[in-house]
Symmetry: C2
């Protein structure tokens, strides 16, 4: 089972992919056996830790689907026979932490020097902006695949680059700017990526 | 197109159902042309109003699906050929309003005297409890079909009935108790149901 959602993220079949992950980790031959996972998997795993330890309740939203036809076989579960991926109107992750509404999206790039703004979608930027206006803690998590570095960039900073692009500015956010403006997210054991440390800094600076 | 999600809520095909709604409204012959809609439709419509007017950002989460097989026809959208409804681990609605994290589920009942607790699921109650612990504003919206009355009941009150049931207490929440403990949600024009008035009362009483 190997396919991709329209946003490019990998579909994870937890039965099969476990073996693949083990192989990937072995090939990596680092002490971080979970490195090499997709950013989405890393976030999901971290969210699970935060949830189980009553630190935060943050979930990935299900992928939106338009259903065309469903079968109801006798004595079995309803089977969707025809459906299509539909466009999400929000970001992928939201939840609650320290009384605050948390909202973000996650993006990976193979580029070594910047993240192209085409990785973000207009409706996601609008959604983040609307959530900011309601007092939410909004950001994007960006992973550079080449060095496995992850940064949290505030939505307010993303919006500056986004608007600038529309006015003829550059079509990507340089890694250098992300390093300066954003928060480095470190790998650890539990949670795998401790991104709520960065969220603490944002909340405490408000 | 007429089928139901596993939670019993109606699938709405916005092409076809528009006509059905008009007919329903005509048959109703009341001045509230939108009465007779499902609670889910009423909430979605109200959320759309709140969103468009920058009052709140609250969305229904997509129905979670487990995908088994996908087709990639040339020059057309990926087509899901086999998938199943999977169990949601959270409630259906969340978002942000006045800086607060909002989380709730919506239930309808045909009963005139109470709402059976079997309408709620253990994982939903646990999720609401966990969100409460993080300082979220959590509740359920309950609609009695027979008189089209809608109430907002705080999750903390729901949890009392839920735990009581487990200790041999009654298996439903009497409408009388919902009237006393909860907040009546009134129909209006814009938004269709102004449930954020009740949320204001909860926030302001904290």
């Amino acid at each position: 089972m190997n396919f991709r959602y329209p946003n490019g993220s990998r579909y994870v079949d937890h039965g099969l992919s476990k073996n693949l992950k083990v192989n990937a980790a072995q090939n990596n031959s680092t002490i971080f056996s979970d490195r090499g996972m997709s950013l989405e998997d890393e976030i999901n795993k971290s969210n699970q830790y935060y949830l189980q330890n009553d630190i935060a309740v943050i979930h990935k939203k299900p992928t939106p689907i338009s259903i065309v036809s469903v079968d109801y076989p006798k004595r079995s579960a309803a089977r969707i026979k025809e459906a299509y991926f539909s466009k999400a109107s929000t970001t992928d992750y939201n939840g609650v932490y320290r009384g605050k509404y948390i909202d973000f999206d996650a993006k990976e790039t193979k580029s070594k020097i910047s993240i192209p703004l085409k990785n973000f979608h207009e409706h996601q930027v609008i959604h983040l902006h609307k959530c900011l206006m309601q007092g939410g803690i909004c950001f994007v998590m960006i992973k550079f695949d080449f060095d496995q570095s992850i940064y949290l960039l505030k939505a307010s900073d993303l919006i500056v680059f986004w608007d600038n692009q529309k006015n003829g500015g550059r079509k990507s956010i340089p890694k250098k700017d992300i390093e300066n403006l954003g928060y480095k997210v470190n790998y650890g054991f539990n949670p795998l990526i401790s991104y709520l440390h960065a969220v603490d800094l944002i909340i405490d600076s408000q």
